[in-house]
Amino acid sequence: MSIGAWLELITSGLITGGIYALVALGLNLQYGLMRILNIAHGEFLMVGAYLTWMLQTSLGFSPLLMIPLSFALLMALGLAVHWLCFRRLSATSPNLDIFEARGLMVAFGLMFLVQNAANWAWGGELRGYDFLTQPVKFGAAQFAANKLLVFALALVFSGALIVLLRQTLLGKGVRALMQSPTGAQLMGINTRVLHPLMFGIGLGLSGVAGCLLSMAYTISPAMGEPYTVTALIVITLGGFGSMGGALAGGLLLGVVEAIGMHFTNPSLKALLSYSVFIAVLLLRPEGLFARKGRKA
């Protein structure tokens, strides 16, 4: 293979990996902070993608304008979902184990609800629109402009979230809550504000990911589920609750998938990612990049 072909292969892996990372960061935020394993996460990505598609085709909004809009809409939706379901759930569950199991079941219910509501409202066909499809040349390699834009924006949003968590007081509170919920509450960190807010931000990020995804790929109501599964794989790769790990894991999985698919068989893609997932869960359940004695 020529250098250009290798470059194209690895970059296409990184582009899908960027989206994976963005979806996984939102899911990781919800799981790491609140122990809600939101199986419905990918469905909200689909909602973001459909909102973008709908406003782009009917009102002519630019997809770039839709990024903040879908973040805000999905965040509002997330606040509503948290207020309606998880607030009561955490008040009535006797301990964290039971809360986790019940939260998983509620998320399954949400998945059925959202996926079929979308199917009902928008129909089951594949949808899409054209946006920045002209090719861009880098030496011997050639890429579609929209995919490069998607990759750049996915990295920007992932980076922004990580900076928010590392550098600001809000992020400090969130990290404290991840380390020790009781200790953080004793220090005066308000879980009643932070939990819904972070749940909302997680869903908002999935809305952004959906918006970015709709710029480069076709969308359908069933598109969410594979992304949820991939996000789960990514956060197990990076370690539950670790943000930098999720970003690195997402990019890594994208590249591994692209290279594996190129050298074997495209129908092996799902087999490959599930094998990686199960192997990591069994052999290193604390994540690939975890160091001893340091968490979150």
């Binding site: 009535t92 079941m105 399954f108 219910g109 129908s267």
Partner: protein, 338 residues
Amino acid sequence: MTSRQLLIRDLLVLLAIAGWGLALPYWGSEFIVSLALTCLMYVALSSSWALFCGTTRYLSLATSAFFGIGAYSGALSLEHMPWLQAVGLGAGIAAVVAVVMGAAVLHLRGTYFAVLTFGMTELIRHAITYFEKSVTGTVGRVLAVVPERDTIYLTVLGLAVLAVATSIVVRRTRFGLALAGIGADEQRAQTLGVNTRWVKLAGFALTAAFAGAVGAAMSVRWTYIDPPTVFNPFIGFQTVLIALIGGALTLWGPLIAAIVFSLLAETLRLQAPQVYMMTLGMLLILSVLYLPGGLASLRWGTLRSWWSDTRAWWTERRYEWSGEKERVKRRAREQRLA
């Protein structure tokens, strides 16, 4: 009621239901029999699921894997052996797979276990799809030798009755107590001398054997099988949903919920499949939030407490919206100032 009276009551109820089920093919129409067949399938699946996963709180999503394995082994072996042996073979292979899978994953708890069993199900499904596509060169299989409708019905009825009877009996044995002990506090059960590793493996294999047998019995009903139909994750999800909505810790909960669900599915699914799935999701969320013990834990007291909760909530809202709350607050503030 004493424990012995309870046992006799449970067995009598089971006998009555089995009698009704037995009489059904002689007076029911084709449609009613097929409805009853789906219903019995979910009774067997969710009762056996609740037997292990409900009592130990190990949330397994691998039912569809065992179902599919049973379906495939039953379909492939039916040409070479009699019907009951084929069903038994399906159960056996599913149980062996469950032992191997369980040895790898049963030391993980909670969400890790649920996610891992789901991942393994998908892995098995994709592996079989790939194997079929590249080695045997087929997508699905058409079953040439198919037993009569009544034979299938009686087998599935037998499996459903056996599943409920097993849960009745297991609850009263040392094994059942060990399972319940693991569910309540695994470490304490270990300290009290329960070999949790073996108990969990045996329970998981028992669940899988039932799912495999049901898969083998149901595959001939469809006459054509391919990986997406028999390994459909929805079979696994719906089993879990039925058990949880009915009450995973109760004996009759899964049975009641299976009947409710089959009726709901038949009435709604054909006219509005999305509405059916949305109802399913809504019901699941509501039951987890407001009835965590399941349908079978519903008593008059539960309804009464909902009623009083709603009234309390409404009184609170009226107090707030009428402006009374603000006025009381202001008066208190003025009094403090004065």
